[in-house]
Subunit: 284 residues, 4 copies
């Protein structure tokens, strides 16, 4: 599948602020960046680096005043299978060392608090794909997708009680329950085809039978149409913008178009964009 | 300095349990392992691996019943300087990519909640070594070293309110305040000379002027006499024992002896050891 | 039913400490105190008061050193019915003003966080007795009675995640879910016949059809055999001991005997008592 | 002092909802209601009750659709002294029973978590008025008045970490520190002269030398010009609107005028009012 990804972000920095933007498609197995373009205001410089471990790409610089960043890319992605139920979890001693941290608690995933619940609710299900699917079913049945009930400090514990949240919250709760059930899980930031409204998306991957498998706990977009931006332990690692100080997001537009699909009426080069929309600088 | 490190740990596993033990001296710059010995019960096998990124060493296996693990090593460590006040923090764009995660919140370090406090309390102090020293002074003046007030779910937020804890809690609060002040900080598990009573110790490192500097927020042991075991984002990453299920620690002994120092009366080969002591399986 | 209640508590106060002990049977409808005796060490004086609103009785004084308090009473209690499913909740405008606070959040009952869960899980059940019974069934199916997993700061939110606790935790969770479902609920401290092992017990009451109905969310003791000590918003209000400073509980014995039942072999005047047992000064 | 108080509140109830509004001046010592008027839409009925213990007045009913409530009163208040430093705290055994709950933790005041901090920071100061004044000074020096950083679940623990909040948060933190220091404290909702912008105000009272003394931890309005609406353990008890379901506040106006002061240009009968302003239904 070939996808045309566009994102435009506008920020207002009250003073010069160290900033990391992670908005580019990652260098990752299964996706090939055919072309890409990064648009920055005159005079703004961002240093590009690639995380050698994750393939995630960082744009770093000290920004001030009004800054608009545009990213546009054409990406070819390999077919991505839906998680099969019969995948199995390896014993810890056979997991790659690099996978082990994804069994541990992280800022938004207090795995240590969920061991008994995970055992009671999912312990009887065969460990592996079946258990992950049961966790995703549980979340689908018990958590509502609701904007505005969570914020940047909301953890999976909060969401578990409140039973509502956005993609970031669904991902944190899903990863927490997977890790508490013995399944390594890591957060993935993605551009997602068919997400409505278009936005940065947070999903996660589980490590089963020697590989990482992508799932979307919100069920809002097909995993086959996702372009990977970054992965990490939770939202803290994969935020599209991290700053050392205060910043206001003044506009945001995301667009993902399937170039292999029959054309629709929406002109590719003029996606809707409202520079005055104030959005929280966080994955939704 | 040459140090003789010994640790003996005894556990009771009610059923076969995936286990990771991290008790060996790390392969790390500044410390050289002259000899070492790992003692396991007959029939117990643990696979050894080294984390290629951190140099930490993992012992992994599925354990059951009563298991006693003994580690003994002679390690030569290079001189380690005390943190100078005049070190500086680099702009984010000049930090190595691998250092960036240590600016972020983690399970026990909710950095996002402490930005205003850090700015109010330490914002006026020159960023870098001076600010870290001010943070260490603040902790020394405001937090009591008290056993039994914290447990495995205690975060830096709890300790900040409760104003008491053990080395793990001091380290979490110290790292949280450093990261919230713009200084990368990572947790380090260590064998520490002159720690009384001897135990696994949790300390942390800050990244200043291109290098990591070790500090002990409890001020209980000199950084010059520490043997590094592992490092990571917080206690979750550097626990000496991580298990997939229930386990009871039934005994624990740690000993660190300076081989270059004049001999004392304590015979090296018979450190005190109480197999009946039940200790929490966590860094103190 | 006539019950013989005995409790002995032993404490060690390191320094003179303002103390409130609430261990006497309350002056309450449905229970009549035939005789009672309070035993205090020579020289210890406690002022007795009765809360005019709740009928709870307070013993207050400044205690120091080793103090043992003995309470012994014979109480006649009226028959107490099990909660019928067909009871109804009155509209708020018809509730007595004194009942309204029991709809609100309190220290250990963060009702505000559970509105969506309560609505999802119990909203379809007829408000009133049936809903309360459904809540009690849910707790019975989802929470384990386990000692040692909770402490004096554990709230219903913690227990909801951890799925385990003691009577105090069951009561907090039960009240939180009732209040979040529109049913007034208040905590009750009681002496409970047939509780094994004997101990101070925490249960709760719901206000339905104009009256308070007692329920035991742990299902460990029949409500018919309970002697009321005090009621309040949660455990903070009904602790058997509240002190202005540090105290160590050095012994505790509780005994409840049905005087109308055929005598057993246990001699009434010599219940087992271990003055060396250290117990947390909290309802279990 | 004679004060003219006006408040207008507009709400949208999506469905019929049990509601309690507490917006009338309380029947309380030190304030006399000369005249008052309650304006309700045609067809809306609210039952009036007075809490016999607190003197707070409740308006209760089942509301639906758009509802505007207007309250207008002329109140004569007695002079109110500023808290003197030399007031003392009575031993617990001499406190009125009705005062004791105000020493305990409540939903937003986790007193149990602050005992060590209170002792470290204020333990050396003479208990009583001087200690309360020191607590108020500490809050003034360490907490910023900032809108938008807190919400309906924010407790004193959150505010203590975040170091920012509104009047409700200042009051919760102040009461928590007072109770943890042995001083009974209760929350008070008030109409406050000279509060800018005018709004419902949350302050608190401490019980010293046999009486309750009003203080404003935000220092935004003089205690001499406050009309008492209600008191209770914390914001949960004194909210101006409590509902059994969802509600949107669509407008709000508060005005307090000193009738004894020289007239200004603002005509009394036409205070500014924006029916379209959406405000959180909570004390600010």
């Amino acid at each position: 599948m070939r996808l045309e990804v566009t994102s435009r972000l506008a920020f207002e920095f009250p003073e010069p602020t160290d900033t990391i933007a992670v908005i580019q498609a990652a260098h990752a197995t299964g996706q090939f960046i055919e072309r890409e373009h990064l648009g920055l205001p005159n005079g703004v410089r961002l240093a590009e680096s690639t995380d050698p471990v994750s393939g995630g790409r960082l744009l770093r610089g000290c920004l001030s005043g009004s800054v608009e960043i545009e990213y546009r890319a054409t990406i070819r992605i390999s077919p991505r299978l839906t998680l099969p139920a019969n995948l199995t979890v390896a014993p810890w001693s056979q997991l790659p060392v690099a996978v082990l941290p994804y069994l541990l608690p992280s800022r938004y995933c207090p795995v240590d608090q969920f061991l008994r619940f995970a055992s009671r609710e999912f312990g009887h299900i065969s460990p592996g794909g079946a258990r992950v699917l049961a966790i995703l079913d549980w979340i689908h049945s018990n958590v509502d997708y609701v904007h505005g009930v969570s914020n940047g400090t909301t953890s999976a514990a909060n969401t578990f009680i409140d039973r509502a949240g956005v993609c970031r919250d669904f991902t944190h709760l899903g990863m927490t329950l997977c890790r508490a059930s013995g399944v390594p899980a890591r957060a993935v930031a993605a551009y997602a085809l068919a997400l409505d409204p278009p936005d940065f998306h947070a999903v996660f991957e589980v490590f089963l039978d020697g590989g990482w498998w992508l799932v979307d706990p919100t069920r809002l977009a097909p995993v086959a149409g996702m372009v990977r931006i970054a992965h990490g332990r939770d939202a803290a690692d994969i935020a599209f913008l991290t700053t050392a100080g205060a910043v206001t997001q003044t506009g945001m537009m995301v667009s993902v178009v399937d170039l292999d699909a029959p054309r629709t009426d929406t002109p590719l080069d003029k996606p809707p964009y409202n520079p005055n929309t104030v959005e929280e600088a966080a994955l939704t």
